[in-house]
């Protein structure tokens, strides 16, 4: 297990050691990143195994992380879990985002109306990231991934942004990001960008509408992802209508 962790560190460019970086901080973040959706709690031994960091070093790093509130250890000597530090940082990111501040009440209202999960994504160049979500109160949810950048064409929200591009901009984007695609794949992608969302909704289950600023730049998008068990045309229609209205309120 330690071996795989080490080899992964070598291949992941974010984890390649460099003289301009602080190695001990990289290691602390390796530990922090052991906690995710499927690894809610972990013992010292598990964290040491998963990161390949010696137990004694891991213990010191964990003590510091716990002290800072980044990691939590509810019972002395017990398992570790994520602390609340990240939640406060996420609150700061949200509070500093103008579009998120404006969108939050609108998203909450839309969620209450439709009882489906509403996601706000923001664009950074040719990448897009899910910034925030308002979860449905229904029992079955499709949890969106928050805080990870993906190229525009790999997410529905990004496709909604791409659909606002003119032909030249789209050509340039395809050249830069989709050069590895076969001709058929590239054609399929262009088709899906050109199609209005209601045509693709039933198939993809995700509806997305771009938010456009006063210069005509699509800088964000709102989307709804409907679990397959619930999807039907009337619901998709209602969601799309709600998304369009919300995006109009936030555009310009």
């Amino acid at each position: 297990m330690a071996k795989t962790a080490k080899s992964r560190r070598k291949t992941d460019p974010a984890k390649v050691p460099s003289p301009s970086r602080v190695r001990v901080i990289d290691r602390a973040i390796d530990i922090l990143e052991c906690f995710d959706e499927t690894h809610e709690k972990a013992t010292l031994q598990e964290l040491s195994d998963r990161t390949g960091i010696h137990k004694a070093t891991a213990l010191r790093l964990l003590a510091t992380l716990v002290d800072a509130g980044i990691v939590d250890q509810p019972d002395a000597g017990g398992t570790y879990e994520l602390g609340f530090f990240a939640l406060k940082r996420a609150d700061t990111i949200h509070a500093a985002s103008d579009i998120r501040q404006r969108a939050a009440p609108i998203m909450r209202q839309l969620r209450d109306e439709l009882n489906e999960t509403i996601v706000l994504s923001i664009r950074n160049g040719n990448l897009i990231l899910n910034l925030d979500k308002f979860l449905t109160r229904q029992g079955i949810i499709e949890a969106p991934t928050i805080g990870v950048y993906t190229p525009l064409h790999e997410s529905s929200a990004g496709l909604a942004v791409l659909s606002t591009f003119n032909e030249d901009a789209l050509d340039a984007y395809m050249k830069e990001y989709c050069s590895g695609m076969t001709a058929a794949e590239a054609r399929a992608l262009r088709d899906s960008i050109a199609k209005p969302p209601e045509k693709t909704a039933i198939h993809n289950r995700t509806l997305a509408v771009a938010i456009v600023d006063s210069d005509g730049n699509a800088h964000a998008a709102l989307s709804i992802q409907i679990p397959s068990g619930r999807i039907e045309p009337a619901l998709a229609e209602r969601c799309l209508k709600g998304l369009r209205k919300a995006a109009r309120q936030l555009s310009g």
């Binding site: 800072a68 530090f85 990240a86 996420a90 700061t92 991934t145 805080g147």
Partner: protein
């Protein structure tokens, strides 16, 4: 020199050194007649230095990331260095490490940094897994071992207080309650404790839209009385009530706060009025406050003393 004397000697020494801003150099100290260098070789001192360094570097990550706020969402390297008293060269290395790992990113403004998207991802994992009821349940059990009365964990849902969990006393005569029961926020000590956590403007807005009618036996319906109760809850950190919903009951409640510091729930201890004595009243108030603080800590609430947490 005894162990304690040595420790206090060392503490005094480091205070003196800090005051005169000297760089502490290895000091020879007698320790039961054994000179210090024998006890602490060079390797050992190096190890301690290294350990101190590694811990410090991670502490600095927390310190740097906690600098950012809604008002100061982007900072230059110089600002980061001067606000944390970290040398610029060290700060640059830390910042570039954090950037590579998505915990900081260069902001729109050139040369400025802001919090990176990885915090959103980690926060989302934490949020998906933080269950307010789960945080409370085990604490309710340990509280009932100390006082065999009924414990109620009420959370706010809009203008209502919902019982998310409750643990009923095992005494033959007891106050009973059910998870899922809900009632307007201004009714009972639990709801009013939550109400007291709102801003004055939000309380006023609530009182103007809520129907202030008698819900049970002797519900507070006079806004003046409700305001007085809210003020005492804010001042004392607890609230008591009696015979409001159920004629024969007494209850005391304390606020439960989230990591944001906002009141999200209330813990209540309730029992039949016939058992009420000064002693039981005081015990229930002490326990309810202790319990609420324990649950708050599980929800990440840290009283203001720790600025980075």
């Amino acid at each position: 020199m005894s162990y304690n004397e040595t420790i206090s000697y060392l503490e005094n020494l480091s205070v003196t050194l800090r005051n005169v801003k000297l760089r502490p150099t290895p000091v020879l100290l007698p320790w039961d007649g054994v000179p210090m260098p024998t006890m602490m070789g060079k390797q050992m001192r190096d190890d301690i230095d290294k350990e101190r360094y590694s811990v410090e570097a991670v502490q600095r990550v927390a310190q740097i990331c906690a600098l950012f706020s809604a008002e100061h969402s982007s900072l230059s390297l110089r600002e980061i260095a001067s606000l944390t008293s970290i040398p610029v060269r060290t700060a640059a290395k830390i910042v570039s490490t954090l950037e590579a790992r998505g915990l900081l990113s260069s902001s729109g403004k050139s040369g400025e940094w802001s919090l990176g998207p990885n915090w959103l991802k980690i926060a989302d994992y934490k949020r998906n897994r933080t269950n307010i009821r789960e945080a409370a349940t085990s604490i309710l059990y340990s509280l009932r071992e100390q006082l065999n009365e009924t414990f109620i964990f009420g959370v706010r849902d809009g203008d209502r207080r919902i019982i998310a969990d409750c643990l009923v006393s095992t005494q033959p005569i007891r106050r009973v309650s059910r998870a899922g029961d809900e009632i307007a926020l201004h009714v009972g000590s639990s709801g009013r404790t939550i109400l007291a956590g709102l801003s004055d403007a939000d309380v006023s807005a609530y009182l103007s839209r809520a129907k202030l009618i008698n819900y049970g036996y002797d519900t507070m319906t006079d806004p003046k009385r409700i305001w007085a109760d809210i003020k005492s809850a804010r001042r004392d950190g607890y609230l008591t009530a009696q015979a409001e919903i159920t004629k024969e009951s007494f209850s005391s409640s304390a606020p439960i706060r989230s990591y944001r510091g906002e009141v999200v729930a209330a813990l209540t201890i309730t029992f039949p009025l016939s058992r009420l004595t000064d002693d039981l009243r005081n015990t229930s108030i002490r326990l309810v406050q202790e319990g609420a603080q324990r649950i708050s800590r599980r929800l990440g609430y840290a009283p203001a003393s720790n600025p980075t947490a």
